[in-house]
């Protein structure tokens, strides 16, 4: 089997353009193979996740023990940031803004879409590669450049951007130089995601294997498809807004600067006439769809893992697909629920809170369908399944706590408090990040031919799930008490915060414990590349097409182009010889697909 693969491979190469042996650079650095690019994306993104998380672990010191010098690391941060190891407020703001930016734009999205999308999607639809391999490479390198710019901004005078990941004007326009770097970095990142999204959509529509009709697509593919449309159509307005803000900062325009602005008792020398709300609208026009970009691929991964480990078809596949499409569509008309407190009147508020309540329906449908899928299954508690199972209640908490935020009356109280931070972190951290862990454990054998260590995986899981709830659950308590987000001292100086201040240290210990348990993952990830248990091409006995390719799949993926004969989740079909029937298996044939 292996020989046939390589022979095919070589033959294809010769047919194609007069390609020579690919050099090391072409194979591993400037690769056009979707699997290499996927891994590049995933590894880069994981490094950024770690970096962004480290920023947060630093901040948590300041929040737990305001004004105390940071042990050991404090002196490494430099006099400009932390004289005597004590973090300055300016530095805290940089860390906060960059934590948000890095986690969202350089961590989760590149991992969920760039990493998993690139690696898994072409395999799942039986394609030899992405439709535009060169664009794919350009997309990665544009992302990489954006990351470099963001990272470098820590070292410019005044440090990195410090106006929050939302970069609200006018604050961001008068901020230090780091903000300019932030904008330039964002332009690269947006260009990257544009190239990526075009590529994903074309690949999904055009390169599906014969027989793989839309209603036979694995749910993960649907999730990526909808996500790509969100990226395609929601990001450009932020590109426009970013350009305008860049003009405000560099060319002295006043797009977001109202007339008569006074800063530190001085009237600014600007032409004025701009509107700060314009930034907020354009920003959230992207950023609400963006939160669905963060969550949809996660739902896709969880659906795959659940179907596989319950040995049952997903419950309500059609409802899931309809919901995710509707969700994607609606995500374009809810953005101003982030702006109830900008002086928006009741008519517009009513409109946006209505659309927000409507959009919660498909989310509930999806979550319910996934829950119901568990019912009656013979569940295998593998490591990916543990993470996928944890996703369900965690995302549930995140989603349900979002409802009061979407109604303008309770949002008056909750807006910009730690309640909000708790809410969306339940969605993105124990929600999305856990789903991404599930995906890593699940597809690792496809990429390496080995599974990750199960014991280490379980320690990682149980440690993380407990620690993470210590981080985020208390945020609801402090938030409901009225403690604001983005406070340098965690709310110490506010009378209303006094009763809940002791939670700050609890959350910080939780965050550091969470960090500790990631060590098990990082070690496992690298150790298993060489030492993990070797497995066959389909270790989870899964049904979808990617498991029909060799592990790791060669350049061009499949020895023979696969065909799909059935839906994606034919588990435990009555009368079948085994409890899974692969999509590529013509009826009656044996489960191991014949490779001629």
């Amino acid at each position: 089997m292996e020989n046939v693969t390589t022979a095919e491979h070589v033959e294809h190469e010769e047919h194609g353009h007069d390609e020579h042996e690919l050099s090391f650079l072409q194979t591993y650095v400037f690769s056009q193979d979707h699997k290499v690019i996927g891994i590049q994306y995933a590894v880069t993104a994981m490094l950024f996740l770690l970096f962004g998380f480290s920023l947060m672990m630093l901040m948590r010191w300041q929040l737990a023990f305001p004004g105390a010098p940071i042990p050991i690391i404090g002196n490494l941060l430099g006099q400009a940031n932390a004289p005597g190891g004590i973090m300055l407020p300016e530095f805290y703001n940089q860390l906060g803004a960059m934590h948000g930016t890095i986690m969202v734009f350089l961590g989760v999205v590149p991992l969920a879409v760039g990493g998993f999308g690139n690696y898994v999607l072409p395999l799942q639809i039986g394609a030899p590669d992405m439709a535009f391999p060169r664009l794919n490479m350009a997309s990665y390198w544009s992302f990489f450049l954006g990351g470099v710019v963001m990272f470098a901004s820590f070292f410019v005078p005044g440090g990195a951007a410090n106006s929050g990941w939302t970069s609200y004007a006018p604050l961001s326009v008068i901020a230090t130089e780091g903000q300019t770097w932030w904008l330039v970095g964002m332009l690269f990142l947006i260009a990257s995601s544009l190239l990526g999204s075009v590529n994903f959509i074309v690949t999904t529509l055009q390169l599906r294997a014969p027989g793989l009709s839309f209603m036979r697509l694995p749910f993960f593919v649907w999730a990526q498809l909808v996500t790509s449309f969100l990226l395609l159509l929601a990001f450009p307005p932020l590109q426009a807004a970013g350009t305008l803000q860049l003009m405000d900062r560099v060319a002295g325009t006043s797009f977001f600067m109202p007339s008569g602005l006074v800063v530190a008792d001085q009237a600014l020398e600007i032409s004025g006439g701009g509107n700060p709300l314009l930034w907020q609208h354009l920003f959230w026009f992207l950023a609400h769809p963006e939160v669905y970009v963060l969550i949809l691929p996660a739902m896709g991964i969880v659906a795959e893992v659940i179907a596989n480990n319950t040995r049952k078809p997903l419950w309500g596949y059609r409802a899931l697909v309809a919901s995710i499409i509707f969700l994607g569509f609606m995500s374009f008309v809810v953005w101003a629920h982030h702006m109830f407190l900008t002086g928006m009147g009741t008519t517009i508020s009513a409109f946006f809170q209505t659309t927000t309540m409507i959009i919660s329906i498909p989310s509930v449908v999806i979550l319910s369908a996934l829950f119901i899928s568990l019912y009656g299954g013979s569940i295998r508690y593998t490591v990916p399944m543990l993470f996928a199972l944890a996703f369900l209640p965690m995302f549930g908490i995140g989603g349900l706590t979002g409802l009061p935020l979407g109604l303008s009356a309770p949002d008056l109280h909750l807006h910009d408090t730690y309640y909000v931070i708790g809410h969306f972190h339940y969605v993105v951290a124990p929600g999305t990040i856990f789903a991404l862990f599930a995906g890593i454990y699940y597809w690792y054998p496809k990429a390496t031919g080995r599974v990750m260590n199960e014991v280490l995986g379980k320690i990682h899981f149980w440690g993380s799930i407990i620690a993470i709830n210590f981080v985020f659950m208390p945020m609801f308590i402090t938030g409901l008490a009225g403690v604001n987000r983005r406070l340098y001292d965690g709310g110490m100086t506010y009378a209303h915060g006094q009763e809940v201040m002791e939670w700050n240290a609890v959350m910080s210990y939780g965050a550091w414990a969470l960090g500790f348990f990631q060590i098990f993952f990082i070690f496992n990830f690298f150790w298993s590349i060489r030492n993990g248990r070797q497995v066959n091409d389909n270790p989870w006995q899964s049904t979808t097409l990617e498991w029909q390719a060799p592990s790791p799949p060669p350049h061009g993926n499949f020895a023979t182009p696969p065909e799909a004969y059935r839906g994606p989740y034919e588990y435990s079909v009555p009368g079948a010889s085994s409890d899974f029937t692969m999509q590529g298996q013509a009826s009656g044939a044996d489960p191991e697909p014949a490779r001629v």
Binding site: P258, G260, G272, G273, L277, H281, F332, A336, M344, G345
Partner: protein, 118 residues
Amino acid sequence: MSGSAEEVKKHIDVYMKVAGALAVGTVVTVLASFVEVGVALGIVIALIIALTKGSLVVAFFMHLLEERSRAIRWTLALTVVFWFVLMLVPLFTMMDHTGTPKTLPNANASESHAEEAH
């Protein structure tokens, strides 16, 4: 656009007609801008002409009229819908606002207007 030499030649005829229409449209929109009809009506007229010209370009030069692909049509329909949503931003900002006055003086517009227009 597909097909035979005959068809292509027919297309070329159409292109020339469209080119003529675009030229006329450009002239008309410039002339119309000198007619005093008030700002609102002026904007409406200019946009109608621009929309007409734009539709001609899309329909004939970009061959959308002949485009049978559902993927393209759906994508564009979706884009048009979201584009209109985006165009509502000014409305959402200006309309139904509490607190600050609806408009702040645009100090510079009047200033530069007075000084720099010769």
